[in-house]
């Protein structure tokens, strides 16, 4: 369906962002953007106040009226109102789920993937084989108060005992509503179909049970989509309908509010498919950090055999695109900033600061940001600290994502001699950083960084790309709204995504290997229009080669022996690098990046790297404190 004008809002945990898009110039483009603090929490506790404030901001900027008596004017009537209103939300904690399965590495793992794939925050994973006894599980569920539970377990027709005892644990826990007293906990059951009746008998009094296809109908197959869709539907019907102010928001947008991670995932998957690239994306918010990957994989998949017990199957070569999404609850830049410190540790955060760090002051800054989440850095010192936290949040979230992006675990395989030599096992990581073509960063700290080179620096430092990788940033933090737009008009969404959202920052070229400090990792010959130019990529150094957006250059890379730029150790390659608002960055810092142990030397090294990228106004030691 094609609308003439669309107003889309993303209700984040800290900020509500409103966008006006229309095709007044003959093509569908972003026209205006406004934002206001989210008002889902105390003292206001009504999400609509923040939404209306953001829309009032759009009215001021555009000179066009959208609200009349606090009601949205839709469809458009001449110069007022909009044709369509859409919304995404991660406020109030997003969709918080607990999942359960029989085995941690099998059905529970599949349940976790299904929930994450639906854009949920997985608060805990229960299984029959975890260390906790049923009473501890009951206590944990009561403490967590999830919005929804996903249960799976057992192959179809198999044993029902374990999965029914999981259902009993949920029934006993009687989780109290997080959102309003009238809320009844929805439970999605995606396990052994034979156990549905027993599961119902346990749960019907304390929850709304929805049955969907088994996540693992056999050990070797995984069916996630029906559970994901059911989670989306229940999110709309039950969870959102009970959050403060959401019933009215649901009414405004025709009963469809997408969870923000689900919406961003849609647009990233579209990007990967449309341009046939391996893309990794991050959306770093106030409470959570979401990572997405849409990667074309060439791997060997296990195919079960029907011959019997002793011949369980064989591997076949598969080439297909896979999409993964992970939501790291409690890694975020405001509400969850204290948890970044707890998980990462003070030394991992302070290593990104170009000055010697007073731990007490750094901790107090973090505490104040956590208790007053909407505050913004006013000094360069605060900005550097905020961006150091962002680097660690992205790094931790990406590590978790790579743990999730694995093949099926727990399958039984009969190996031939060749397979044993190959040492290929179930549950291996599906891709490496050398295979990633592009990284896209989104979220306030990346999109609103005062200099684009800061966003480039944060993305390179946290993802540590290898080989040749294009780096992009979401111009003004609008991917959630484009994701929801793509559900009704994918062409318009892609137009706006490419023309108004995706800002090319440049290309990162990072050879990997283990040469000595100060030695050359590779040489790069860039074919500029005015002639060739040779660069040496030195160990431990960054080099910036300015190249404007829209420009493309051919590069011949010759790594030294044992160093890989994408074609294998020591192998030369030619590639095309794109320009951007920063340019081409040769990153010789190896992987993982090493830092000098001496605090003064480390600070000097950081200053040098940041100065090379022209990332901050001044990074001389002591000038920012």
């Amino acid at each position: 369906m094609r609308y003439q004008s669309v107003l889309a809002v993303d209700v984040g945990s800290t900020t509500t962002k409103a966008l006006l898009m229309d095709n007044s110039s003959g093509e569908f483009r972003l026209r205006y953007r406004a934002e206001a603090p989210t008002t889902v929490e105390r003292p206001v506790e009504n999400v609509m106040i923040g939404v209306q404030n953001a829309i009032e901001g759009l009215e001021q900027l555009s000179g066009r009226q959208f609200l009349q008596d606090s009601q949205l004017i839709t469809p458009a009537k001449g110069d007022i109102g909009v044709d369509s209103f859409m919304a995404t939300s991660s406020a109030g904690g997003g969709l918080q789920m607990v999942v359960g399965g029989i085995w941690q590495t099998m059905t529970a793992d599949s349940a976790k993937k299904a929930a994450l794939g639906a854009g949920a925050i997985v608060m805990d994973v229960f299984s029959a084989d975890d260390d906790r006894n049923p009473l501890e599980k009951i206590q944990r569920i009561q403490e967590l108060r999830p919005d929804m539970i996903l249960l799976s377990g057992g192959v179809d027709g198999g044993n029902t005992t374990h999965v029914t005892s999981l259902a009993e644990v949920v029934a006993l826990a009687k989780p109290q509503p997080r959102l309003g007293k009238s809320y009844t906990l929805p439970v999605v059951y995606a396990g052994n179909s034979k156990a549905r009746g027993i599961v119902d008998s346990f749960l019907e009094e304390v929850s709304i049970v929805k049955h969907v296809a088994n996540l693992r109908p056999t050990l070797e197959t995984e069916v996630l989509d029906p559970a994901r869709e059911q989670i989306h539907d229940l999110f709309m019907e039950h969870v959102m309908a009970h959050a403060p102010g959401y019933p009215e928001l649901l009414e405004w947008c025709g009963n469809v509010i997408l969870p923000t991670p689900g919406s961003v995932g849609r647009i990233i998957d579209m990007m990967g498919e449309k341009f046939d690239v391996n893309v990794v994306a991050a959306d770093i918010g106030g409470a959570t950090t979401d990572i997405f990957s849409s990667v074309y994989l060439s791997y060997r998949r296990f195919v079960p055999s029907e011959k019997g017990l002793w011949d369980r199957g064989y591997f076949e070569q598969v080439n297909e695109r896979k999409f993964h999404r992970s939501v790291s609850a409690n890694l975020g830049m405001s509400y969850s900033i204290g948890n970044i410190l707890a998980e990462s540790g003070i030394s991992n955060i302070s290593r990104w600061l170009p000055f010697e760090v007073d731990e007490g002051r750094l901790r107090d800054w973090c505490g104040n940001k956590m208790i007053r989440p909407t505050t913004l850095p006013q000094s360069l010192w605060s900005l550097l600290i905020e961006q150091a936290f962002a680097r660690e949040a992205l790094r931790l979230a990406f590590h978790r994502h790579m743990d999730l992006a694995r093949g099926l675990r727990g399958i039984s395989i009969k190996r031939s001699i060749g397979d044993i030599l190959n040492q290929e096992s179930s549950g291996q990581r599906l891709f490496s950083m050398l295979e990633v073509d592009a990284i896209v960063g989104s979220g306030g700290v990346l999109s609103h960084a005062p200099r684009r080179s800061q966003a480039m620096s944060m993305i390179i430092d946290s993802f540590q790309p290898q080989g040749i990788t294009e780096i992009y940033v979401d111009s003004i933090f609008m991917m959630p709204q484009l994701g929801v737009l793509s559900t009704v008009d994918s062409e318009a969404a892609l137009d706006v995504f490419l023309k108004d959202c995706l800002v090319p920052l440049g290309t990162c070229i990072a050879p990997v290997g283990s040469p000595r400090l100060g030695s050359t990792l590779a040489t790069a010959e860039i074919m500029f229009s005015e002639g060739k130019k040779l660069f040496r990529i030195q160990t431990g150094e960054l080099t910036l080669v300015p190249l404007s957006p829209g420009q493309r250059v051919e590069i011949n890379l010759r790594p030294v022996s044992g160093v890989d730029v994408g074609e294998g150790p020591g192998k030369a390659m030619s590639a095309v690098a794109i320009g951007g608002q920063v340019g081409i960055v040769f990153d010789g810092r190896n992987r993982p990046i090493n830092f000098p142990r001496n605090e003064r030397e480390r600070a000097a090294q950081l200053s040098s790297w940041y100065n090379t990228l022209n990332a901050y106004p001044e990074t001389k030691e002591g000038t920012m404190q």
């Binding site: 929490e41 404030n53 009473l135 027993i198 509400y335 007490g360 107090d364 104040n368 007053r372 000094s379």
Partner: protein
């Protein structure tokens, strides 16, 4: 948009608190009753923590779904030690009738169909006798050598079936505890170990000085008070109450160990900009009920609690002193208004709670000074419209370098470039010391007009 968060300080406001037991029990309060903070509204003798699990399926040697048919008690029944819980009727050839009697006094919470388990929440009783286990006789040893074979010490908590003493040191030939309780005495004269069943009743106390306005059957009551309400921003430790006592001379002064002595035991002390680590230790040592200051140092809290603050949910820490910051982390002078209000009420009883939750149901620490119950005036709750900023609005800064300083807006400036190079609208705020400083809208908190 110029909507901002607002400082929550209210005088003569109505404060209602629901006071509930964690398990069902007996409510002793009555509607209309005037109560003090320590008044008991309801009481239960059911023990908190985990209920005990009895594996009836294993005992009878049947499948879990057959256990229901053996039950002689139902969920919700109170049982005494020795009560028949379940009976398995077998034929003579299969062993005849088999009975399971309750080893506990308590409440049947659940019968598990899938596992064949029975969950019993134990109930304690004040008149529970001390149980003496004659270990020397059971192990056939001289009483004098009892301690040589003991696995427990006085004061140890023991579970049902845990080993009290054994001959071989690993429990091969062992005497096990017949109950869950505490080892109260090991007597090498008689060769006995005395066990005391726990008696830890839970109470729902009033917390506020006020009036009971509603009874919640089996769980507790609602208490209403009128008085002063001051919201903090972060705290650790739970509910406490005590006499409000000023210990610093000025609001920018920090509390240290020298400010605290034995006379502050059970009191709620308040000071200025913060509290030193020595001060924190002195507060704990002198059993001070609560400390209210402008700022708490994050580093000191981590040292005090032995863990990171993480996601900002607090209030359940096992510390005897509750610490509350009214402004933030670090050394931050207490806001003049807050300090003056606390000074005004010094000498009266303050009820405080350090519990903090920063999202998904925000909860901030609170300091409540209720009017004496005999002087309860009529008052009504004020509406909480979101405040908007304008020239003349009173605000305070909530970021460095002006953290905690109050002033009023003298101008609202269109977008301009800041030292971070970001371009945003700014406020010109005249601080109380006369300086005019630039602050982002997001970096101030409204104090009304």
């Amino acid at each position: 948009m110029t909507f901002v968060s607002e400082l929550q300080i209210k005088e003569d406001t109505v404060i209602r608190r629901q006071r509930l037991l964690i398990f069902p029990g007996k409510v002793t309060a009555e509607v209309g009753q005037r109560v003090q903070p320590d008044a008991i509204l309801a009481k239960t003798e059911l023990l908190p923590g985990m209920p005990v699990a009895i594996d009836l399926a294993s005992f009878f040697g049947v499948s879990p779904d057959q256990v229901v048919g053996t039950m002689r008690k139902r969920v919700g029944d109170h049982v005494q030690v020795g009560d028949v819980l379940a009976v398995m009727e077998n034929g003579l050839l299969e062993g005849g009738r088999k009975i399971y009697s309750s080893p506990y006094k308590g409440l049947i919470e659940h019968i598990s169909h899938s596992r064949g388990l029975l969950l019993v929440r134990e109930e304690s009783s004040i008149d529970e006798p001390v149980l003496e286990v004659n270990v020397a006789k059971a192990l056939n040893i001289s009483p004098r050598f009892l301690r040589t074979f003991c696995h427990v010490h006085e004061g140890d908590e023991v579970a049902l079936g845990s080993i009290l003493a054994s001959i071989d040191g690993v429990g091969g030939e062992a005497v096990r505890s017949p109950l869950r309780g505490t080892v109260s005495n090991i007597d090498t004269r008689t060769g006995t170990i005395s066990l005391l069943k726990p008696y830890s009743p839970s109470y729902a106390k009033a917390f506020l000085a006020g009036k009971v306005t509603e009874i919640i059957p089996d769980r507790g009551a609602v208490v209403e008070a009128t008085g002063t309400y001051v919201e903090g921003v972060f705290g650790v430790g739970g509910e406490q109450f005590g006499t409000l006592t000023q210990v610093t001379k000025q609001q920018d002064e920090e509390i240290d160990a020298l400010h605290i002595s034995e006379e502050h035991q059970g009191q709620v002390i308040f000071g200025g900009a913060g509290i030193t680590r020595g001060g924190m230790e002195a507060a704990l040592e002198n059993k001070v009920a609560g400390v209210v200051v402008g700022g708490l140092r994050s580093m000191d809290l981590v040292m005090l609690l032995g863990k990171e603050i993480s996601i900002g949910i607090t209030g359940h820490e096992a510390i005897i002193t509750t610490f509350i910051a009214t402004e933030g982390f670090g050394s931050v002078p207490m806001l003049d208004l807050t300090y003056r209000i606390l000074q005004k009420h010094a000498g009266r009883t303050a009820s405080i709670n350090g519990r903090t939750q920063i999202r998904a149901g925000v909860q901030r620490p609170e300091i409540i000074i209720a009017h004496p119950v005999e002087q309860l005036p009529d008052a009504s709750a004020k509406s909480a419209n979101p405040p908007r900023l304008a020239v003349g609005s009173k605000v305070r800064a909530i970021v460095d370098p002006y953290f905690g300083q109050a002033g009023h807006i003298v101008a609202m400036i269109p977008p301009k470039q800041l030292p971070t190079e970001v371009v945003m609208p700014v406020l010109h705020v005249k601080l109380l010391d006369g300086r005019i400083v630039e602050l982002l809208t997001n970096n101030v908190e409204s104090m009304g007009r």
